[in-house]
């Protein structure tokens, strides 16, 4: 049986004017468990708290009920007060007789009656309270960033600059990501590699950053502060420490000339050798051998690169290696790609080499690209005179079969950028943009778009393109609508550029599963709170950076990367994490192992294990729910989903809430 002290606060006249405080004290004094009841002018004041502490000591109180203002106001105060007197802070309940009673009722008798009922409910609850301990878990002071694009790079740099160690895992042979493929960036038109390459070098040289390129996350276990991650370092077939990056192997690889290996980096507009770096400024500047295409790996013959390498860095025998590293926090920055365009046969992307995607256009305009920055048609290498841009290809579609339901956000701006860059270089080009809506929210964005129209005379037409028809003379006939002028347009073009929808990197689903980070219908990672916790995953210790969370441009990505870094730093700065003691708890004897609770847990805090249980003298191995207390945030979704009542929530247990109901309805 608890020994409960009830303390009724006057709050000056805030409570006492409407609630007969003395009467409340009298009426609750004989409630079960109550051994002491008193009132005071200001319970939260120094003197009021002193009164509580004294009573705890004098009456050996095991529980407190404070009838006062909202617990949202002073619950912390009274818990600290209890702790001061050696009482577990979770043995305190607050009956809200100010905000929810004295302030809203006028009739004193009525308000007093209600105050008593609220006090009774709190007393009944405290009778069932148990002391709860805040748990502690240590924090490994190292972060993992998955993905080495601009989002991952920026996050890693910010964390590393704050003095913490960071590892970047990148599945490609070089970091740099999508941004390294771009030519210029909007809205300032600075050269993408001029601003990205220095950051890539900085990452490589930073004492706090370790790079795992050509590597993938294989397995993740643990929880916030204590993740164990297996990283697969794929065999490069080049010894990292010996390679000087001279590039001799790449120039001499026979497949570079005669092979037909499309360069991933150049989007298949150019071929690459079997031993390659994706691009000249790759970081690290160490090539890899593409074993699927390499003649040596296919036939056992060749070996040119090994023979020619001045530093004997080629190692055909190299094996994949798995390293296990501990981390306190993980940032997902897996980025995006554009969708496959097979479903948009009407735009003839697969039929005509002169219908290209925007990323291909980036490569075609890039001085380091397959054409050396000279814009030309892939069919006849002639410079296009009439170029048509089609917006929203696969964005804003209703059905999954067609495309994506969301707006890809970046296309309107980069199309304006492309149009202006082309007009800058080749002013006699005619450019037409078919759009549904031009969306330019962002600093200096609409001005940028208007410049394309007003200064560069880019022809913007509201209306979608129905079909692109390759013509016998090698041109493309674009059949489109002009909705504002009410016309169907049939115009000839030399080149058509498709603004294909972006989508999260397809690998993210697997990674999210490993991390138990939730993901939405479009494979974007979900944030813990759309407004208030936009860079955190609902799973504690997992943070989000860049396109993996949703469509965004480079400035937004960089600011989100910084925000994610701050959250990581805030976590790593702590030696220990206090865990919320109001967590779910599973009664293993009652658990059916049905997984219903795990299905509704937003934090992935519930796992299922086979454990030995003793049930009425019978030893049995059962599949039962286990709550990871470091992850559980105490929402109680599992408790309402549990059919057997095995899952319960400390601090808000089924019995506690039931007893409150009973006390109120008594």
């Amino acid at each position: 049986m608890q020994k409960i002290g009830v303390f009724v606060c006057h709050c000056g006249t805030n409570i006492a004017a409407t609630v007969d405080v003395k009467k409340v004290v009298e009426l609750v004094r004989y409630e079960p468990g109550v051994v002491y009841a008193d009132d005071y002018m200001y319970m939260c004041s120094e003197a009021g708290q002193e009164k509580i502490i004294e009573a705890i000591k004098e009456y050996n109180l095991t529980g407190l009920v404070i009838c006062s203002c909202s617990p949202r106001m002073h619950e912390k105060t009274f818990r600290a007060c209890a702790a001061k007197a050696g009482l577990n802070p979770y043995m305190v309940e607050v009956a809200n007789i100010r905000e929810q009673c004295s302030w809203i009722h006028k009739d004193k008798e009525e308000a007093t009656k209600k105050a008593v009922i609220l006090a009774r409910a709190a007393i009944a609850k405290v009778n069932l309270n148990t002391p709860l301990q805040e748990g502690e878990s240590p924090v490994t002071k190292r972060a993992l960033v998955i993905g080495g694009g601009i989002a991952g790079i920026q996050t890693a740099l910010d964390i590393a600059d704050a003095g913490y160690e960071v590892d970047i895992v990148e599945k490609e042979p070089s970091i740099g990501g999508r941004m390294s493929q771009f030519d210029k960036t909007f809205p300032t038109l600075d050269c993408a590699s001029c601003i990205l390459t220095p950051k890539m070098v900085e990452v490589n040289q930073h004492p706090n950053i370790t790079l795992y390129t050509y590597s993938e996350v294989e397995k993740v276990s643990g929880y916030v502060g204590n993740f164990d991650v297996d990283i697969r370092k794929k065999a490069r077939s080049v010894i990292f420490d010996k390679c000087t990056g001279c590039g001799e192997c790449m120039t001499k690889c026979p497949l570079g000339k005669i092979g037909n290996i499309p360069s991933e980096f150049d989007r298949g507009l150019k071929n690459r050798p079997a031993i390659y770096m994706p691009f000249a400024q790759a970081v690290p500047a160490v090539p890899v051998i593409d074993r699927e295409n390499c003649t040596y790996f296919k036939t056992g013959k060749c070996g040119v690169c090994s023979k020619l390498c001045p530093s004997k860095a080629i190692d055909y025998e190299q094996q994949d290696e798995i390293v296990t590293v501990k981390y306190g926090a993980i940032v997902v920055a897996t980025g995006f790609d554009i969708i496959n365009l097979d479903k948009f046969g009407e735009y003839a992307y697969n039929e005509s080499p002169d219908v290209i995607t925007s990323i291909e256009l980036e490569r075609l305009m890039n001085a380091a690209g397959p054409t050396g920055g000279h814009l030309e048609r892939m069919s006849d290498h002639k410079q296009p005179k009439d170029i048509v841009f089609i917006q929203c290809v696969g964005s804003r579609c209703d059905s999954e079969e067609k495309g994506k339901p969301y707006c890809s956000k970046v296309c309107c701006m980069y199309t304006a950028k492309h149009a202006m860059l082309i007009k800058d270089h080749w002013p006699d080009t005619n450019i037409t943009v078919f759009y549904i809506d031009v969306r330019t929210p962002g600093k200096n964005f609409d001005e940028f778009y208007r410049r394309a129209v007003e200064q560069y005379h880019v022809n913007y037409i509201k209306g979608q393109v129905g079909k692109v028809k390759p013509q016998p003379d090698g041109s493309l006939l674009v059949q489109a609508a002009d909705l504002l002028d009410g016309k169907q347009i049939n115009m000839k073009a030399d080149m058509v550029v498709l603004a294909a929808a972006v989508e999260p990197n397809p690998g993210v689903r697997k990674i999210a599963t490993m991390l138990t980070a939730s993901i939405d219908n479009n494979n974007f990672l979900t944030e813990a709170h759309a407004k208030l916790r936009p860079v955190e995953s609902p799973t504690a210790g997992i943070f989000l950076s860049g396109m993996a969370q949703g469509p965004k441009d480079i400035p937004e990505t960089v600011s989100q990367a910084g925000a994610a870094a701050v959250k990581v730093i805030g976590l790593l700065a702590k030696d220990h994490l206090k865990t919320n003691p109001c967590t779910a708890q599973c009664d293993t004897l009652l658990c059916n192992g049905c997984s219903t609770c795990a299905n509704v847990c937003p934090y992935g805090a519930i796992t299922y294990d086979d454990v030995q249980v003793m049930d009425h003298g019978l030893r049995e191995t059962r599949r039962v729910a286990q709550v990871n207390l470091a992850l559980c945030q105490g929402c109680g979704a599992c408790t309402s989903a549990c059919p057997s009542g095995a899952m319960d929530l400390q601090g808000f247990s089924n019995r506690q809430i039931t007893t409150e109901v009973d006390a109120i309805c008594r």
């Binding site: 905000e99 937003p602 929402c635 979704a637 309402s640 089924n654 009973d662 309805c665």
Partner: protein, 148 residues
């Protein structure tokens, strides 16, 4: 207290489950804005509307409550991301079932109320009390086995 009041006019007993993050705070705001509603409403604080087990609601009715209202964060605003979505389904099914067995519509209600909506909280409670007042005492839900 109850002895000498038995002949007085019917005053309903209403239990309100409020989630800690939005609606309980909304109720506090109603209080600090002095937006009154009848004392018939008694609030039970829960972490999330998703914590409200249908057992609690049935229990309240069985114990003599005349109305039960569940308040949570607006869909999309749940502090725990998704709790209110599960609550929404659970309550829709429960309410429909109660209607099915012949309980008067309106004894149960779900309202999404944010921490900023003190006025809405107060208005909701006033409406709900009025509704329950008009329905009168809860007889049917006291005993779903209907033996008495």
């Amino acid at each position: 207290m109850s002895m000498n009041e038995e002949n007085k006019e019917f005053r309903p007993l209403i239990v309100a489950f409020c989630c800690n993050w939005c609606s309980y705070a909304g109720a506090d705001l109603a209080g600090s804005s002095r937006l009154s509603y009848p004392a018939d409403v008694k609030i039970i604080r829960v972490p999330c509307s998703g914590r409200v087990n249908p057992m609690f609601i049935l229990r309240a009715f069985e114990r003599g409550a005349d109305g039960v209202i569940i308040c949570g964060c607006h869909p999309g605003d749940c502090h725990y991301s998704t709790g209110n979505y599960y609550a929404r389904r659970r309550m829709a099914l429960l309410f429909s079932m109660l209607e099915y067995i012949g309980v008067e519509n309106g004894r149960t209600r779900v309202e999404w109320c944010s921490a900023a909506e003190g006025a809405k909280f107060s208005k909701t409670m006033n409406e709900f009390c009025e509704k329950i007042q008009s329905l009168g005492e809860n007889v049917r839900l006291g005993d779903l086995r209907c033996k008495n």
